[in-house]
């Protein structure tokens, strides 16, 4: 996709993406989330194929979910065991997302689609307009980078 095509697509898609984001978030957060997604798509414009509607919509929902999770209130000290488990899960999610955010945008996107949305390779390939082989390679690179980061952190 060329930069001009992307600009045109972004202009066309923006109202619909905002509508999706508003289902989860307030007006300001919805605006920020759509902006964030459009920026990430812009960063991988060279790899995108038209149409990008489905990919953009899935990413907006994904980032809305991420933002909602971050907005969850913190737990009181008297939290039950169940809440403590939940806190541990939240910390794990926080940590892995922070590491994912350091990766190149395409790798971030594929990891999110795979591990949060639970999508198969074929589905991701269709969404991004790429081939399954290319998706596997990118996913492999992303996972290996994460592995190295974890090894460094826990050695």
């Amino acid at each position: 996709m060329t930069q001009e095509e992307y600009k045109e697509e972004a202009r066309r898609l923006r109202p619909r993406l905002l509508q999706t984001a508003r289902r989860y978030l307030n007006e300001d957060d919805a605006e920020d989330t759509v902006q964030d997604v459009l920026l990430r798509l812009w960063q991988m414009v060279d790899t995108l194929r038209m149409p990008i509607d489905a990919l953009a919509t899935v990413l907006v929902r994904n980032f809305c979910v991420d933002r909602l999770r971050r907005q969850k209130p913190s737990l009181a000290l008297t939290a039950s065991y169940e809440q403590a488990d939940e806190t541990e899960t939240d910390e794990r999610i926080e940590r892995v997302l922070a590491m994912i955010d350091t990766l190149p945008t395409l790798q971030q996107t594929i990891l999110r689609l795979r591990h949060i949305e639970g999508m198969g390779m074929k589905e991701i390939a269709e969404l991004t307009g790429s081939s399954e082989v290319a998706i596997r390679k990118t996913l492999s690179r992303a996972r290996q980078t994460l592995k190295q980061q974890y090894e460094k952190r826990y050695e």
Partner: protein, 152 residues
């Protein structure tokens, strides 16, 4: 032992991007067990797999309903109150208008020497006086009035 071999193979497949979602679930299950039960060479993967398993729980279905749904139910609730308030307002309006109409139809108004008077007692008193004056010397009054209007 066979299981361990399978886990090693699946772990390699995972980092090659070749695992299916079911195989990934199998790996998450394996790496969830206590640290001591995992061979040394695989231990370094534990935290990553545990974190990725947690990330998998972050699905839209586990989150609160979208704002639009909440807003919809709130709106429905609010609509009921608005409807009740509108019904009460309508009853008051119709009742008030009917009462006003009834009262204005029975209103006593008279212009006595150019002045508007609405006091029922005063108006009735004036009417009575006029009637009495007419019955006392009615013919003279009429005659005087006719002369005043048409001349002699």
């Amino acid at each position: 032992m066979n299981n361990l071999l399978r886990i090693r193979t699946l772990t390699d497949k995972f980092f090659d991007g070749d695992t299916t979602p079911e195989e990934e679930q199998e790996l998450y299950e394996y790496y969830r067990q206590p640290w001591e039960q995992i061979p040394d060479d695989l231990r370094s993967n534990c935290e990553l797999f545990r974190d990725l398993a947690a990330l998998g729980s972050l699905t839209p279905s586990t989150l609160p309903p979208p704002l639009s749904t909440i807003h919809h139910s709130l709106s429905t609730h609010r609509y009921r109150w608005w409807f009740a308030a509108a019904a009460v307002a309508l009853v008051l309006l119709v009742g008030g208008a009917t009462l006003y109409h009834y009262q204005s139809e029975n209103e006593c108004v008279a212009y006595i020497y150019g002045e508007r008077v609405t006091d029922r007692d005063v108006v009735l008193g004036e009417m009575q006086k006029t009637m009495m004056a007419m019955t006392a010397d009615g013919s003279d009054v009429v005659e005087e009035q006719l002369k005043a209007m048409f001349g002699d």
